[in-house]
């Protein structure tokens, strides 16, 4: 019960900023199907895509005939591999992860709970619970935007309930894996700035490894090291599945980050 009280208190902190990011994700994913429909659906998009110079097509990393084969769902899925989506999700998760633990050590607020009969483990697990809920909210916000966008645009094809569930699952796994790493860093740090700097640097590196591994052969062997490699909204929306390897890697990265953070947090000195 104490853990739930702490969890609720944490979620209320920074709620305004989190809600704005959720709204941003919803709007971004809402616009995507509206644009696709206004252009004329997946066939028209494929036509536009084919007119791009080969170099530009390579940069988009979209396979030839992608829109013909994946249909409207494939176009919608591109809204989830867009850098704007990654930035919005990462901002929410890094913001939460740095604000909690490291931010609370920095401000001294952690002393308020830690001076009570509350274990460090309970304090930490309350943050893990909140991370899980935040990741769920981020995933649901995107799916909600897509659903509303398809309704508004009167899109040529709808997505099945299973597709939405898979989309939410894949998005949750991405946010969870990022969050696990950030929470682990936050458990070891004593300032918000250090966590933000570390997390931003690592995420940018991982993103570019994934992106350029497709374009530049020397980087190709490093592609599997990026968590973004295992986020596949096309599989979720088009094939209505989450590949097992993606599930294992993303869930595993999050769990490793969270467990490492717990081990550190239970043992470290807290200058509060």
């Amino acid at each position: 019960m104490t853990m739930l009280r702490i969890s609720a208190r944490l979620l209320r902190r920074g709620l305004g900023g989190t809600l704005m990011l959720l709204l941003g994700i919803t709007l971004f994913e809402l616009i995507n199907p509206v644009i696709g429909t206004s252009i004329g659906g997946s066939d028209a998009v494929q036509g536009l895509f084919d007119q791009l110079p080969p170099g530009m097509r390579a940069i988009t990393q979209v396979q030839p005939d992608f829109f013909i084969q994946s249909g409207f769902a494939g176009f919608v899925a591109l809204g989830y591999t867009h850098p704007v989506y990654f930035v919005l999700v990462s901002s929410a998760v890094v913001g939460f992860g740095s604000r909690t633990l490291a931010g609370e050590v920095e401000s001294g607020i952690l002393a308020l709970t830690l001076s009570r009969p509350v274990s460090r483990r309970a304090i930490y697990l309350a943050r893990v619970l909140d991370l899980g809920l935040l990741a769920l909210a981020l995933a649901a916000a995107g799916a909600l935007g897509t659903w509303v966008g398809i309704l508004i645009a009167d899109a040529p094809s709808d997505l099945s309930a299973r597709a939405y569930i898979m989309l939410i699952g894949a998005s949750w796994l991405l946010a969870w894996s990022i969050g696990g790493l950030v929470l682990g860093a936050s458990a070891a740090a004593s300032t918000t700035g250090r966590v933000v700097g570390w997390a931003t640097g690592v995420l940018v590196i991982l993103y570019f490894i994934d992106y350029f591994a497709e374009l530049w052969s020397p980087l190709e062997p490093f592609g599997p090291l990026s968590i973004f490699r295992y986020f596949d909204p096309v599989a979720a929306l088009v094939d209505n599945r989450i590949p097992l390897v993606n599930l294992i890697v993303l869930a595993g990265v999050g769990i490793v980050g969270v467990v490492a953070g717990l081990l550190v947090f239970e043992r470290r000195d807290l200058a509060i």
Binding site: R5, I6, I109, A111, L114, P117
Partner: protein, 343 residues
């Protein structure tokens, strides 16, 4: 100021806790143990020793002052006590339980004063107190009494903490620390930011808790406050205990000071009266440490033309400054440790 006789009354009362107050000891098995105990505690950061073989016992039912200059190790000791830091070596016990290993159980009977900045700025005062009570798992039996004493009214409690002054936040933090009537109160600079009247009310509140059998362990830089409030005092320096005892015992280490102002000039041979603390020939004033018997002094100076004579009783600050001195010579007063000759 609380006199020595009053302290003895407090000490007697402390051994007879308020029977109407329920027993809230961490565990009956540990009730006979000191409220807190540091035993050969070390804390090092690389080559820096923040605590260096600190040993200290705080008996239950007392108000215990914890003094020391900045950087002496007070905050480190309190953080170890609260389980925020792990000692490099040694044992720290809180209400009979290991402060690190059994900290959760021990802290169920502890009220800790967080710094005024360590409160949720987005919460109202009422919500802050409710949250603190929730996670303490205990009823806030003393909330109203504390709020009344500290003069924190309903209007202020309904506002967000972001609108509070430092003093108001301090009042709220004190209330959060003691609202659940803990067995042990750990207060780091409790009067920081409080006006003198509220400070006086706080001291009364602490004495009231002590008379109900509770223990208060407080650090302060306000020596007058410590002297008024505490029966026991520990002085820490360079991470180790340098003095400990009742305020009376510590003050007795020092002799009284006679401050004599002559009308004409300071006569020769006056330094035979005792240890001369200072001589100001321009103002014709001399300060001399004297023993318990004032008569030799009176007899010696009776033949002189005296403008004024004052006898100053030894004070806690004399003790404190004697240990403070080497850490901060600039702030050292014209007093010396026992046995020192300042001629």
């Amino acid at each position: 100021m609380l006199g020595f006789d009053d302290e003895e009354v407090c000490a007697r009362v402390s051994r007879d806790p308020d029977p109407s107050t329920p027993s809230i000891a961490a565990s009956p098995d540990h009730h006979h143990e000191p409220a807190l105990e540091f035993r050969n505690v070390f804390k090092t950061y690389g080559s820096i020793a923040a605590l260096n073989d600190l040993s200290l016992n705080v008996e239950r039912g007392t108000i215990h002052g914890f003094l020391g200059p900045n950087g002496a190790g007070k905050t480190t000791a309190i953080r170890i006590l609260m389980g925020f830091l792990k000692a490099s070596n040694g044992t720290t016990r809180l209400l009979g339980l290991d402060a690190w290993r059994d900290g959760v159980a021990a802290r169920s009977n502890v009220g800790y004063l967080v710094t005024a900045d360590a409160l949720y700025p987005d919460m109202s005062g009422n919500d802050q107190l409710a949250f603190a009570a929730d996670i303490s798992g205990r009823e806030s039996v003393l909330r109203k009494r504390a709020l009344d004493a500290l003069e924190l009214g309903p209007d202020a409690l309904g506002r967000r903490l972001g609108t509070y002054s430092k003093g108001m936040r301090q009042k709220l933090a004190i209330t959060a620390a003691l609202q659940h009537d803990p067995e042990l109160l750990v207060l780091d600079e409790p009067s920081d930011g409080l006006d003198p009247l509220v400070q006086q009310h706080l001291e009364e509140l602490l004495r009231e808790r002590q008379q109900a059998g509770r223990t208060v362990f407080m650090s302060s830089h306000d020596l007058a406050e410590v002297e008024r409030t505490c029966q026991q005092v520990a002085v820490i320096r360079n991470g180790g205990l340098v003095a400990s005892g009742t305020t009376k015992e510590l003050s007795r280490q020092y002799q009284r000071t006679a401050i004599i102002r002559f009308r004409d000039s300071i006569p020769d041979g006056i330094d035979q009266l005792g240890t001369v603390v200072s001589v100001d020939r321009e103002r014709k004033v001399i300060e001399v440490r004297i023993g318990d018997d004032v008569n030799p002094l009176i007899r010696q100076i009776a033949k002189e033309d005296i403008a004024s004579l004052a006898i100053r009783e030894p004070q806690l600050q004399d003790v404190f400054f004697s240990y403070y001195g080497e850490a901060d010579n600039a702030s050292r007063p014209e007093t010396s440790p026992p046995g020192a000759d300042s001629k």
